[in-house]
């Protein structure tokens, strides 16, 4: 402590410069963390808020396009419902559409078709649930931010179907960066078949759904259920990978974060390597005077700990402040303090690893060199 604090104060310019680098890395890390949480929310919050444990898709569709390609016969719902361990089974439809409200707001919507009254039929925070009237829609709160109002009429592009906003859900429900709107299953089936007002609807359209939404008891044999119903089920988490772009986005951000940690550990390691090499004569003197290796190691490690903790705290604070500004913009940005905390700890821990590797050099400094002549 004695030497550590005095050395920090003496070389404060050097440490401040290095601290600024670590702080900037911490800022970047907070922004990336916010961006990845924001992207996850934008990509799959509509799925996360479904009260389901698994989704049963058409057998054989690739995972990354399951929502857009899967067509399941609605008879599969009943077959799933009679399985042991399945507490709830309900049809679910999914289609992305472009629409325009009667007040001129253009909006993209992820339509979730649900049987009104089924366990996936949501309870809105404002307005009413889906009723028996066909052309109703319950939308995510984020659609209100985008300019929709309760009572608006939304007209779908191309086919011209009109939907009335009857309810608004609590919080963000998005899927593939698009606001979720719940519609009655029959309405969804007509939209999916491309049938506008007055158009004939092919009979088979009413037998087709995207997936069977399931709520199962833990340990339920899903493979046997798939066998019986002719489907391929995924857990809810697995189905996130089927959200458009989700896997690529999270993998990209994850990789950037991993690189950031590696860079920070390397930068801190390089700094302390140079510092130790520069201080070699001093370290030799300390050891010649009988300071134990542990004393010299502690001295250097404490310096790195002070450097890392102080600059990470400063950087995280600056990053959170910057993030608060970003949250107000349309950028997908959401700060999760838990995630930021874990990332900050990781930054400090990996920085310490880098410093420790560098600082181990002090054990190789020969105290004998302290006695030598002029250096």
């Amino acid at each position: 402590m004695f030497l550590t604090l005095r050395e920090l104060a003496f070389a404060r310019g050097r440490f401040a410069l290095m601290g600024a680098v670590v702080a900037l890395i911490a800022v970047l890390m907070v922004l990336l963390s916010g961006l990845s949480v924001g992207l996850v929310n934008d990509g799959v919050s509509g799925l996360q808020k479904l009260p389901v444990t698994s989704l049963a898709f058409e057998r054989g569709v690739p995972t990354d396009s399951a929502f857009s390609r899967s067509v399941v016969d609605s008879a599969a719902v009943a077959r799933w419902a009679e399985r042991d361990g399945v507490t709830d089974a309900a049809p679910l439809g999914n289609t992305l559409v472009n629409a325009k409200s009667d007040r001129g707001t253009e909006i993209d919507l992820a339509l979730f078709g649900v049987q009104p009254g089924s366990f996936v039929d949501p309870d809105p925070a404002q307005g009413a649930r889906l009723g028996s009237a066909p052309h109703e829609i319950v939308v995510s709160a984020t659609a209100i931010d985008a300019g929709l109002r309760l009572g608006d009429t939304v007209t779908l592009d191309r086919i011209g179907t009109e939907l009335t906003v009857v309810g608004v859900l609590d919080g963000q429900h998005t899927f593939g960066h698009v606001d979720v709107g719940y519609v009655p299953l029959r309405t969804w089936q007509e939209i999916r078949a491309g049938a506008g007002p007055g158009d004939p609807v092919p009979a088979h359209a009413y037998d087709e759904i995207t997936a069977v939404a399931l709520r199962t008891a833990p340990g339920t044999d899903l493979a046997a259920g798939d066998e019986a119903a002719g489907t391929a089920s995924m857990t809810l988490e697995e189905s996130f990978g089927a959200s458009p772009g989700y896997t690529a986005e999270t993998a990209t951000l994850g990789m950037i974060q991993v690189f950031l940690y590696a860079i920070s550990a390397l930068v801190v390691g390089a700094f302390f390597t140079v510092l130790v090499i520069q201080r070699k004569p001093e370290i030799a003197v300390l050891r010649a005077m009988g300071a134990a290796t542990g004393y010299v190691l502690r001295d250097s490690l404490l310096q790195s700990a002070v450097l890392l903790v102080v600059s990470t705290v400063v950087g995280v604070a600056a990053g959170v402040a910057a993030g608060a500004g970003l949250s107000a913009t349309p950028m997908p940005f959401a700060l999760d303090l838990g995630a930021v905390g874990v990332a900050a700890l990781l930054l400090v821990a990996l920085g310490m690893v880098g410093a420790a590797v560098a600082v181990l050099r002090v054990t190789r400094v020969d105290p004998l060199t302290a006695l030598g002549g002029n250096r």
Binding site: A11, L286, A288, G290, P367, A370, L371, N374
Partner: protein, 226 residues
């Protein structure tokens, strides 16, 4: 038990094969507590090697080194403890730590671990005549002032053996004189066994005995006071 510093038939070689140099060749030396001895000799004779062995920085290839009754044969960890508690070094002036003020340089050895009955750093600094500059860092001190801080640092743990390497190489005659007088006085007052390695023949009149080192062999020259 022998007190002071005892070297018994010490041999130290550097390198091996064709390159081998015998830095210390069968060297024996006993310095009593309260005695200050000088070692002179040409460059490369083995004077620094002698201090390294006496101070437990290297283990000799043959022979025995005993400091205050403690044998210095042992692992580095044990030798480090003996260096910390029983040996004082005065290095060259640039061996002060740049980050520390004069008084902190003297406090530093007391932070390495427990020391029985240490001397007071502030009083010690006053004793070497540096009390008015106790807040200065090495780059704000002259060569002689740095040397005096170095002496105070070596004395703070009350070592039994004091080893001094080329104390006057950076100093003018008057300063050399002051530093040596200080070393001699401390040696006599605090009963240390002191070895001063030097090129400087002016130093010799402050010493009780003078040894000459040539090609790794140590011979006693003559009583210095004569």
């Amino acid at each position: 038990m022998t007190t002071g510093l005892l070297l018994e038939r010490v041999t130290l070689r550097h390198g091996d094969g064709e390159d081998e140099t015998v830095a210390l060749d069968d060297v024996s030396l006993h310095v009593e507590p309260g005695e200050i001895v000088a070692v002179v000799g040409p460059s490369g004779a083995g004077k620094s090697s002698l201090l390294a062995v006496a101070g437990g920085l290297t283990v000799p290839d043959a022979g025995r080194v005993v400091v205050d009754g403690v044998d210095l044969a042992g692992p580095e960890r044990v030798r480090a403890r003996i260096r910390r508690t029983r040996i004082g070094y005065v290095f060259q002036s640039n061996n002060l730590l740049p980050a520390l003020t004069a008084v902190d340089q003297v406090r530093l050895p007391l932070t390495f671990g427990r020391i029985e009955n240490p001397r007071d750093p502030v009083e010690l600094l006053a004793e070497v005549g540096m009390e008015h500059k106790s807040g200065r860092r090495p780059h704000q001190l002259s060569g002689g002032e740095r040397q005096r801080v170095g002496v105070a640092r070596a004395l703070v743990t009350r070592p039994g053996v004091l080893l001094v390497d080329e104390p006057t190489s950076a100093l003018d005659r008057r300063r050399s004189h002051e530093v040596l007088a200080l070393l001699a006085q401390e040696t006599h007052e605090h009963h240390m066994a002191t070895v001063v390695v030097t090129h400087d023949h002016d130093v010799l009149r402050h010493c009780d005995r003078v040894f000459e080192m040539i090609d790794g062999r140590l011979t006693e020259e003559r009583p210095a006071m004569a």
